[in-house]
């Protein structure tokens, strides 16, 4: 049943996905309204799906696909939070495709790839997953914002008349969205990694820093911190910030992909 709801959500997200593609060329208000409604509806389905999964008793957050579903939901919530504050759907250009992809993978292929069942402390594990996912969602949005910033900066510099009418919010607003997501996401990411370490240590007794999962996570965290620092210290934005954000995002993707190789998460093993 949960899967059915998830597929309904996927259908809605597909509509928002279309928006992500047309938004750059067309600026009708109507599109963004449709996308917004579709996304909200999708979130309702998605929420039902997650709740059902949770109530069904055999919730395994640590299964890759349930994890993806949860991450997609959190990213969408983050997007909605930004919409509530800034009244702009433009981050959807980046968020929607990622959310769609995550939901798609979660909805289509449901073979239970499981984390090791020998985790001793389930509470820490849950905290680890939630914290790190919020961190991921924030990172995704700040990555999206830095791309939009570049785009808007280019439009303004090109002095093209069309730059005046645009679905993008003002440059400083995009900047704020990016920076705030960054600041919000960083503590979550940090705590997420710390709780993760606790889980790993309590399960294996030690941390293997050469494990690809851990290596990439630490790398991602380092770039994340570098972003926060350069921004705070010398106001890096625009091209340089976008470069860092892309790097952090790629590191995050790699860290996620590492699930399939890492012995820590043992996804490959099962």
């Amino acid at each position: 049943m949960s899967l059915l709801w998830l597929r309904c959500a996927l259908g809605c997200y597909f509509v928002s996905l279309i928006y992500a593609f047309v938004a750059l060329t067309r600026t009708r208000d109507l599109f963004s309204r449709i996308a917004l409604h579709a996304a909200s509806l999708g979130m309702v389905f998605h929420f039902v799906s997650l709740t059902e999964l949770f109530l069904s008793g055999h919730v395994v957050w640590a299964s890759v696909h349930n994890g993806e579903s949860l991450l997609a939901f959190l990213s969408m919530s983050f997007f909605m939070l930004i919409y509530a504050i800034y009244q702009t759907t433009s981050p959807g250009v980046v968020v929607f495709p990622v959310v769609f992809f995550l939901t798609f993978v979660a909805a289509v292929d449901q073979q239970p790839v499981l984390l090791t069942q020998y985790v001793s402390n389930k509470g820490w594990l849950a905290a680890h997953i939630f914290l790190i996912f919020i961190g991921y969602a924030a990172l995704l949005v700040s990555f999206g914002a830095s791309l939009l910033y570049l785009l808007q900066e280019r439009r303004l510099k090109a002095k093209k008349p069309t730059s005046l009418i645009s679905f993008l919010p003002a440059l400083e607003v995009i900047d704020q969205i990016g920076y705030r997501s960054l600041l919000l996401g960083f503590p979550f990411m940090t705590l997420g990694l710390l709780t993760g370490s606790v889980v790993a240590i309590s399960t294996y007794g030690h941390l293997d820093f050469l494990d690809p999962k851990i290596l990439l996570s630490v790398l991602m965290w380092a770039v994340y911190m570098l972003m926060v620092f350069t921004r705070w210290n010398s106001g890096w934005r625009g091209r340089r910030a976008a470069f860092l954000a892309t790097f952090a995002f790629v590191a995050a993707l790699a860290a996620w992909a590492a699930n399939y190789f890492s012995t820590i998460h043992r996804f490959a093993a099962s």
Binding site: L156, K159, P161, A170, L171, E172, G235, G238, R240
Partner: protein, 441 residues
């Protein structure tokens, strides 16, 4: 649709002619009265703004001599006036009025003032009794159309002058201008205007710098700002988010290295340079820096003209709305047009019925009240039954624009009075119309 419209606007007539035809507000009520009393005119409204004078009327037979009215009123010769006039009748008059109210006929397409002016003109004419049913309907519809155009198209959503384009660009960069700082370099009229616009949109502090310090002080005082010595320019400029520069300097005064300094001191917060000096004050090299945005006079001008182009595009959409609305309005009026015919048809048959009853009564002698009522009911019943189909047909025909043919046929068949005569007695007919035919759409 016996509407007639005549007028001049900024396109048809030069300023000298428009000046001579401008009607001061105080004289407007009298002009309306005069217009409504003019031969052949039943109702009239006069719209007079700095860009146009329009006379909108509902006439007795659609051929009132409006040109004559204008000549008489403004004491102008035929050859002075005629070449500049445009005149529309019926549907075209409706369309023109809709376009005017929707600001599609304005000098600056989409400007918001015109609708208010048309509304005032309507109110003035109404107050002196120059407006009754027909123009009332026409203008109410025109206001509704204008509202629709505003709501459904982007005509009128973007601003046009250079100063407001500057504001809009600044908003593209900073979002809100609340609390932003403006720096004017070189005290000139245009930079003053731009600054005024920016302040009106929330910019908080202002600095002025000028080679002649006194002028800087003078301008700064106007804005409650602070004058800065020209030598201190580079040291204080980074405090500004928006720099408006218009000095007479033959060389660029802001170069790349200055931009780098500013950005370093501002922690890379963006800066917006509005360069309205010719030759330019800001070197284009500086614009290559991340976070520095420069718009020179040409860029601003281009933005202005692109706005105009955008509005044109939207105006096409608006024209489509108006075409549809004109059709709808026409259809509605036509339904009303058959109403007088229906009324006189009913009157005609009622007269026959009464005459026949009187005749029969003479032959039958005294009747009891019951018998009276029975005859009344019988005859009325017959007439209503017989009339039902023709009236329905007339009403449907009206919507399908064969009204004139059918109305003509009905009038000939029943030998009803001709239209001219009938319209003279229309006010009386109108009252019956309401009760007999029921509410019109």
């Amino acid at each position: 649709m016996r509407f007639q419209l005549i007028g001049v606007n900024h396109k048809s007539a030069p300023l000298e002619v428009r000046e001579r035809m401008a009607i001061p507000e105080s004289r407007l009520p009298d002009t309306c009265r005069e217009l409504a009393a003019y031969p052949g005119i039943e109702e009239g409204i006069v719209i007079s703004t700095c860009n146009r004078v329009e006379i909108v009327t509902h006439t007795t037979n659609g051929t009132a001599d409006l040109r004559g009215f204008l000549r008489d009123h403004f004491h102008l010769e035929r050859k002075e006036l005629d070449p500049h006039l445009y005149e529309f009748r019926g549907k075209d008059a409706v369309r023109h009025l809709f376009r005017v109210a929707s600001s599609l006929d304005s000098m600056v397409i989409g400007e918001a003032q015109i609708l208010g002016q048309v509304k005032e003109a309507y109110a003035t004419a109404r107050a002196v009794g120059a407006v009754r049913g027909q123009l009332d309907q026409l203008f109410s519809r025109a206001f509704a159309v204008a509202k629709r155009v505003r709501g459904e198209t982007a005509v009128g959503s973007s601003s046009v002058s250079i100063a407001s384009v500057a504001v809009e660009l600044a908003e593209r960069i900073f979002g809100t201008l609340e609390g932003k700082t403006v720096f004017i370099v070189g005290a000139g009229k245009m930079s003053e205007l731009a600054a005024r616009h920016l302040m009106a949109h929330g910019c908080a502090a202002i600095f002025v710098s000028n080679r002649t310090f006194e002028r800087a002080v003078g301008l700064a005082e106007k804005f409650n700002g602070q004058a800065i010595k020209f030598d201190d320019l580079y040291n204080s400029c980074d405090r500004a988010d928006i720099v408006i520069t218009s000095t007479g300097s033959p060389h660029a005064i802001f170069r790349r290295e200055h931009g780098e300094q500013f950005l370093a001191r501002r922690k890379n917060r963006p800066m917006f340079f509005i360069d309205i000096a010719v030759p330019r004050d800001v070197s284009p090299e500086m614009g290559k820096l991340d976070g520095i945005f420069i718009y020179d006079l040409d860029d601003l001008q281009q933005a202005v003209s692109s706005h105009v182009a955008d509005r044109r595009k939207e105006a096409e959409l608006a024209e489509a709305i108006i075409t549809g609305e004109v059709e709808r309005f026409e259809a509605r009026l036509q339904t009303l047009d058959v109403v007088p015919t229906i009324v006189s048809l009913q009157d005609h048959l009622e007269t026959i019925r009464q005459a026949e009853i009187d005749r029969v009564r003479g032959r039958m002698g005294r009747l009891t009240p019951e018998q009276e009522m029975a005859i009344e009911a019988l005859t009325r019943g017959i007439i209503n039954k017989v009339m039902h189909t023709p009236i329905t047909t007339l009403k449907t025909a009206a919507k399908e624009s064969e009204a004139t043919t059918i109305v003509g046929v009905v009038r000939r068949l029943f030998n009803l009075p001709e239209k001219e005569k009938e319209s003279a007695s229309q006010p009386a007919a109108k009252e019956t119309k309401e009760t007999e035919v029921g509410p019109h759409p």
